[in-house]
Subunit: 230 residues, 2 copies
DNA sequence: ATATCTTTGCGTCAAATTAACGCAATAAAG
DNA sequence: CTTTATTGCGTTAATTTGACGCAAAGATAT
């Protein structure tokens, strides 16, 4: 018989944080899911997440649960919506604050044996536990909006990347195709890319220029107010 | 001695919903505040809001509390951020889901005797209870972002309005000035305004054209994906 | 009354931006 | 060895933006 030692005058819901983690493999956007080991929804796939402790914020909770369940240590998650439908969890009243983060695929040893975390391409997502399908839909919309205003995409790429890698990423997220030459010009004109390494003199046309994200230039731009548009 | 009948195995936070209600008096943006009648922060101004009941969503809670505290019945509120700092309420651990809504000023009998709700212009906001200063800052930012993508501004105007009333609203929210003629052209080109009434033949130049928001046209536009820009 | 200021509708025009596409070099694939 | 794909660097026309002109006539001040 379990003890219930925390008592209140009025009913309180439980609060959880969930994490929608996006990655990019060079071709498609992927999300990180874990397979539930316990009821409810045992064996179903779900987002990493769990109950908030009484002495942590929802963001701290999201990062803690993410690391516990997937081994992934991320510096920042961003909350995007709080789901509070009355019956979203069969155990008790639970509201969840959903977060998202963008990570480089290498950072997760996905498909580990210890952790049952696994990357899924957007078109291969299995049926999810709880209301996580809805959470995913909203997360994807938020990602699409966000990428047009902040250069968060760089968090998904290796530190050094080519222009076509960047274009592939934008095309994958926004589900659009862009003219290669116009994309190239637009990105360069923004001024937030720096050439990453000296180009060898013998470099041929087919050897692409390598870039890195210039956070300093971006900060200046942001100060003035600007917009990344597509 | 009060009874505490709701017991849990782990500590649970209380959950509240707060409402940042925006209005527009033709010149300035205003927000609706209530004066607290009880501790903590007794007599301080705060956003309408209160504890979520166990059988309602956070949005339902926001609307219910708003009506209870200000008499304002609004059809929709939109949540924009969940505040979860550990010590944001001295009584117990409370996380709050903050919402915003835009209403026409007439709809609130502000400054009533019964209700201590009152409209404040943005530059006359008193010091607020809890972390409500921070909530307001974030709400204002969200409003600015939002007005550029969705024509939510119409919710703040009377059903029938003139172009310069609309421009005043945008200028008040975005804290910018626009060229009257360019604003006029841009708005008309969007195609989401309809002329509200036949213009009398004897109408002079100084009699402005009256418009109303064309929700149908807007829905069509939104389908295709578009952007309201300033 | 008379002069001045303000508001409104409607336009103009140059500058900037966008969108579509050409071309040559050359690595990679068949 | 031929074909295909990728990359850097353009060009050009269409569109959009931003700054501003102008006249009619109500509002305001003298």
């Amino acid at each position: 018989m379990e003890e219930k030692n925390y008592c209140y005058k009025y009913p309180h819901p439980a609060v959880t944080s969930d994490c929608v983690i996006f990655g990019f493999d060079g071709v498609a956007i992927k999300v990180l899911l874990i397979q539930r080991g316990i009821e409810p929804y045992k064996d179903k796939w779900a987002f990493p997440g769990g109950f908030m402790q009484i002495d942590e914020t929802v963001e701290e909770c999201a990062k803690r649960e993410l690391e516990e369940e997937t081994g992934l240590k991320t510096t920042s998650v961003e909350q995007f919506y709080t789901f509070s439908d009355v019956n979203r969890d069969p155990r008790e009243r639970v509201i969840t604050v959903a977060h998202y983060a963008l990570v480089r695929l290498e950072e997760v040893k996905g498909g580990d044996d210890a952790m049952s975390a696994q990357w899924f391409a957007m078109n291969e997502i299995p049926s999810l536990a709880f209301d996580h399908d809805r959470i995913l839909r909203i997360a994807v919309n938020r990602l699409k909006e966000r990428i047009c205003f902040e250069p968060i995409g760089f968090e998904l790429l290796p530190e050094i990347f080519t222009m076509s890698a960047l274009q592939n990423l934008y095309e994958a997220i926004l589900e659009m195709k862009f003219d290669r030459r116009n994309f190239y010009n637009k990105m360069l004109k923004l001024g937030i890319l720096s050439e990453a390494e000296e180009r060898p003199k013998n470099a041929s046309r087919r050897t692409p220029i390598k870039y890195r994200f210039n956070a300093k230039k971006y900060a200046e731009l942001k100060q003035k107010g600007f917009r990344l548009e597509f």
